[in-house]
């Protein structure tokens, strides 16, 4: 039964709601209020440095901190679910392979360490990027010197995300109404059903792409009319767009606390050994 009810709950509209809620619905959390540049620095510390750390205790400390921040950022369950599946399938497979090719249980510790490492950097990325208002993210990218075409495409991607998903959903519904799902009795039936669902989700991309292409024609013309191309060459407009960003007291506090904790994680193992 898990299979059926789970599939039913994981429909596109749930996914859509969760993704949108994550990026747009959390604007009142502490993390969402940060300046994007603060989060970039924060990500640099918690998303990149852990790769070079091999002390389990320290990784443990970092993990607890990042997990707490994830909680503060109110990350939606769907993304956490994908995160968990991703982590454990990754290291789970590695462990199986190790055993298969003559490894022993002694592989568990290093693998655990690797899992922890990946967990810390993935959560850091989720907190820093998935939870940030797309507009802020795009302005932030511009502020650190990325080309404006790139930052615009980030914010535009979020603009069309709801449209894209709505379109995808209605195409899937067309398949649902007009197609016939295989019986889902027994394990074999459930398996066939799953294959069928996946097949349709892939097939639906064809009409999706065509419908979106048709829509984007208007969008491209509108961009042209609104002077998007011309503004790219104008430095003054770029500065105007950036005016809205400002580093405030809370940014400094958040960064200081994070760095202090980071330093503590670094120091404590040293003192212990």
């Amino acid at each position: 039964m898990f299979n059926q009810s789970f599939l039913e709950r994981m429909n596109i509209s749930t996914i859509r709601n969760q993704v949108l809620k994550n990026s747009y619905g959390n604007s009142d959390t502490l993390i969402a209020k940060m300046d994007p540049r603060t989060m970039f620095i924060w990500y640099f510390v918690f998303g990149i440095v852990p790769w070079f750390v091999s002390d389990t205790l320290m990784l443990m400390g970092l993990f607890i901190f990042v997990a707490a921040v994830t909680k503060i950022a109110k990350t939606v369950p769907l993304i956490l679910f994908i995160f968990v599946v991703g982590i454990f399938s990754q290291t789970g497979f590695l462990f199986m392979f190790t055993l298969l090719f003559g490894g022993s249980l002694s592989a568990v510790m290093p693998l655990l360490k690797l899992t922890l490492k990946i967990a810390v950097v993935s959560l850091a990325a989720i907190v820093a990027f998935a939870g940030m208002d797309p507009d802020k993210l795009s302005n932030g990218l511009m502020a650190i010197g990325l080309p404006e075409k790139f930052s615009f495409s980030v914010s535009y991607a979020y603009r069309i995300l709801p449209i894209l998903m709505e379109e995808y959903q209605s195409i899937l519904l067309s398949y649902k109404i007009r197609g016939v799902r295989p019986d889902s009795d027994g394990f074999k039936g459930k398996w066939r059903n799953l294959i069928y669902q996946i097949k349709i989700m892939i097939k639906a991309f064809y009409p999706l792409m065509l419908n979106m292409a048709k829509r984007s024609r208007t969008t491209v013309e509108a961009l042209e009319i609104k002077g998007f191309q011309r503004a790219l060459k104008n430095k003054k407009i770029r500065d105007m767009k950036m005016k809205k960003l400002s580093i405030q007291m809370q940014d400094i506090l958040f960064l200081t606390c994070s760095l202090l904790y980071f330093g503590m994680c670094l120091a404590v193992p040293q003192l212990l050994y």
Binding site: Y24, D135, R159, G179, R181, T219, I225, G227, A231, I237
Partner: protein
């Protein structure tokens, strides 16, 4: 002032003329309706004005276009945005920023205007959007999105505003609001307005000039009153003048009128009829208020059904509220009510796409709760509001065959063939549905909807954004389909369709049924119409105001006048 001199446009590869030798002068401050059938070149003409052609669509452009005495050929669309603004038919795709204020101000910001937010807020206040300035675009209603697209155009303070079918998807209340806004811009701010519009009742009420296009050429530009006198010419070009005008035309054809001065509004129509017929002495026939008592067997029963949606912010939105309805065989049901009344939700629930929170739906004797989607769709056909969503294959032939094939029906080829013939799709059977014209798309989607020979057929806005000629053809097709399907339910704003087609009308308002009866009962109840935001077709209003007996089509009223009315001698 807009001035075109011998303007032609053709695509470079085929050399096919998309616009053929256009010459016209549109005076400043006018409110022009561009009319013509789908494919007459209306949108292409409008895209000439804002520089999308030839800057964006490559092709060979000849002739001269001048706006306010400036040749526009060297200007880019962005430069022209200060002169002319364009609101697309698919305006939702014109919104490119996630938030309302950002989107409306985007054009100004790209200009480097320092006060872009101030100016934009001013415009948003004018259009009553200020309270949502911080919202995300996709949280707005359809009407608000249209206003936002308009705001994004207005911030550039253009002298001319072009709108492509601004009210195609709207109920009369919202449609009036849009046009009232345009009238305000036209009269108070002196903007020149150009609309592509199929609805001649709105044209006669709001516009002052009509530009008639046919076969990619401009036939003429005339003041509205004069324009609608050209009844035969317009009909031949796929354009239907107001019903009142057609009535006058019908009378003049029968020899009752030789003045050549046809009425174009209800008030004019009343004077027009009263001058020719003595309505006070005409025989009064009491309206038949009783509904057809002979009901067929019940096909669908909704018992205390409620339905709500979850919103992103986790609040619930109640779409249907404790609904009790029984639909019978032989009924042609029109489901009417304003945008957001719950029409689409009800249709989606009947096909099983949405599950009711409480209550039950019995379909042909079976509780749908226990039915699988496939079994429901064996009995219920559904045609989306947006026909493009119906096409999942790369040709309409495959699309029609899809459900049949999926159900393993052996002679699916024959059935498909039959349907292609019935809906006049033989010539285009290999084409991709998305690339068809509006009318063809509708016909194809209807064919898909009835392919499984359903007992119930649900149609969401089957005549939206079609020109009047195509609309008539679809209405005709719907009458034919009614012979093979037991019950048809149409959710629609098209009151002419309701008047000419339906034998039962259900009025929804805020998720509840506030009216249910025959056309007679519904259209005679003015309070009900007002509450539901519905406006009866002109011919219904006219006949009602003249003698209390309601006629539903022009022909019916003509017959009545001929048979029963006393002519002034």
């Amino acid at each position: 002032m807009i001035e075109l001199r011998n303007v032609s446009f053709s695509y470079p590869d085929t050399g096919e003329k998309i616009l053929d030798n256009l010459s016209v002068i549109i005076p400043p401050g006018s409110f022009v309706a561009v009319v013509g059938d789908n494919g007459a070149g209306k949108s292409t003409f409008c895209k000439l004005l804002n520089g999308i052609i030839p800057n964006f669509l490559d092709g060979d452009l000849q002739g001269e276009i001048r706006i306010w005495d400036q040749a526009i050929s060297e200007k880019t669309p962005a430069e022209l945005a200060h002169t002319i603004g364009y609101v697309y038919q698919d305006f939702e795709n014109q919104l490119i920023r996630p938030r309302v204020l950002d989107d409306a101000s985007y054009g100004l910001l790209n200009e480097g205007e320092e006060r872009y937010e101030e100016i934009t807020m001013e415009i948003l206040r004018t259009l009553d959007l200020a309270h949502v300035s911080d919202e995300y675009v996709w949280q707005l209603s359809g009407g608000q999105k249209h206003l936002l697209a308009l705001a994004g155009v207005l911030v550039m303070s253009p002298k001319i505003i072009v709108l492509d079918e601004p009210i195609a998807q709207l109920d009369p209340t919202h449609a009036r609001k849009i046009y009232d806004n345009l009238a305000f811009l036209n009269q108070k701010l002196g903007k020149t307005i150009v609309v592509i519009e199929h609805n001649s009742e709105y044209i006669s009420r709001y516009c002052d000039q009509v530009l008639f296009m046919k076969n990619r050429q401009i036939e003429w530009l005339l003041p509205v009153k004069e324009a609608f006198q050209q009844v035969l010419q317009l009909i031949e070009g796929g354009v239907y003048p107001p019903q009142i005008t057609l009535l006058g035309h019908g009378l003049s054809e029968k020899g009752y009128d030789s003045s050549g001065d046809l009425p174009i509004s209800i008030d004019e129509g009343i004077g027009y009829i009263n001058r020719r017929f003595d309505m006070s002495r005409s025989r009064q026939i009491p309206s038949d208020l009783k509904r057809n008592q002979a009901k067929g067997k019940s096909i669908v029963e909704m018992k205390e059904v409620s339905l709500s949606y979850k919103k992103i912010d986790q609040g619930a939105y109640s779409a249907l509220n404790n609904l009790n309805l029984t639909l019978h065989a032989g009924e042609r049901i029109a489901l009417i009510g304003n945008n957001g009344a719950g029409k689409s939700s009800m249709l989606k629930m009947l096909i099983g796409l949405l599950k009711p929170d409480s209550g039950q739906i019995v379909l042909d004797g079976q509780n749908t709760k226990k039915m699988k989607m496939e079994r429901i769709s064996d009995k219920v056909g559904y045609v989306y509001q947006n026909p493009e969503n119906m096409f999942i294959e790369d040709s309409i032939e495959k699309d029609i065959a899809f459900s049949l094939k999926a159900r393993g029906i052996k002679n699916y080829k024959n059935i498909t063939e039959q349907l292609l013939q019935q809906f006049n799709l033989m010539d285009i059977r290999q084409r991709d549905g998305r690339l068809l014209s509006g009318g063809q798309m509708r016909r194809a989607s209807l064919a898909i909807g009835v392919s499984l020979n359903p007992k119930v057929l649900l149609l969401d806005e089957p005549t939206a954004s079609l020109d009047m000629a195509t609309r008539k053809r679809i209405t005709h097709t719907l009458k034919e389909v009614a012979d093979t399907v037991e019950t048809i339910v149409i959710a629609t704003h098209d009151m002419q369709l309701v008047a000419e087609w339906a034998n039962r009308v259900i009025v929804l308002h805020d998720g509840q049924v506030i009216g249910d009866g025959s056309r007679e009962e519904i259209f005679a109840d003015e309070k009900l119409l007002q509450r539901a935001g519905i406006v009866a077709p002109e011919i219904v209003q006219l006949s009602q105001r003249l003698n209390g007996r309601i006629c539903y089509s022009i022909q019916e009223f003509l017959d009545y006048l001929e048979k029963e009315a006393v002519l002034f001698v």
